[in-house]
């Protein structure tokens, strides 16, 4: 079965620091890749997605992610974080299971200190 690993469970950064959150998946075929974000007290929302084409994808709020097929990775990056980026981040993979089913990673809780 496919699986998604997020290696950092908790990350604490100061404002203006650079961010990279790791995501690795186990499926060897064609995949669609997503990052979702959950701000405190809010529902999960899509940050960015990769389906095909340029492996470097840009999302909302200055986030980007790079798909490296040879490493089965889809790491999330932001050059300079803000206090408002404090949230939990989830990587998700759709390996074309029936019905658009996603497999989620365990999540990374990011705290940005002002």
């Amino acid at each position: 079965a496919q699986s998604v690993s997020q290696h950092n469970h908790h990350v604490i950064l100061s404002e203006a620091a650079s961010l990279e959150l790791g995501c690795n998946y186990s499926y060897g075929g064609t995949v669609n890749l997503f990052w979702y974000v959950q701000y405190p007290g809010q529902h999960l929302q899509l940050l960015l997605k990769y389906f095909s084409g340029d492996p470097l994808v840009k999302g909302i709020k200055g986030f980007e992610a790079e798909f490296i097929k040879s490493k089965f990775s889809f790491n999330l990056r932001k050059p300079s974080v803000q206090w408002s980026d404090t949230a939990e981040y989830f990587c998700a993979v759709n390996a074309f299971r029936a019905g658009n089913m996603l497999t989620f990673g365990g999540g990374t809780r990011l705290m940005v200190k002002p």
């Binding site: 079965a1 998604v4 997020q6 469970h9 669609n32 997503f34 979702y36 809010q42 529902h43 999960l44 929302q45 899509l46 997605k49 389906f51 989830f90 998700a92 759709n94 074309f96 029936a98 019905g99 658009n100 089913m101 996603l102 497999t103 989620f104 990673g105 365990g106 999540g107």
Partner: protein, 113 residues
């Protein structure tokens, strides 16, 4: 804008009770999903439905059942609640297109005592 509404934000139930969690979406989406969210485990799929009266087991269906009598509504049922079902439950919907993102509700935090 897609809206996914879960009927309760917080629920407290006793062991052995039958529990209904309701979810309604307003965008005519074919697919609907129930996940549970636990710290360190991320989101795990319980059940999903790709059409009215259709349902498929997800990764952790044991102890749960679902009902989809109308396209906009997807209910999660705990036949006999147990303490290990204390969790945050998230409903989501999407179009049938495999490229489409999921739209989530605000979640229901269920505590079983």
């Amino acid at each position: 804008d897609v809206k996914v509404t879960q009927s309760s934000r917080y629920l407290v139930k006793r062991t052995g009770e039958k529990v209904f969690l309701e979810c309604v979406q307003d965008m005519d989406h074919e697919n609907m999903f129930w996940y549970r969210q636990d710290p360190g485990l991320g989101l795990r799929l319980i059940y999903f439905s790709y059409d009215v009266k259709m349902k498929e087991k997800g990764d952790i269906p044991e102890g749960y059942s679902v009902s989809r009598e109308k396209k906009e509504r997807f209910s999660l049922i705990l036949e006999s609640a147990s303490t290990n079902q204390t969790s945050m439950y998230l409903c989501a919907s999407s179009t049938r297109n495999g490229n489409s993102p999921l739209h989530f509700g605000n979640g229901t935090r269920l505590t079983v005592t």
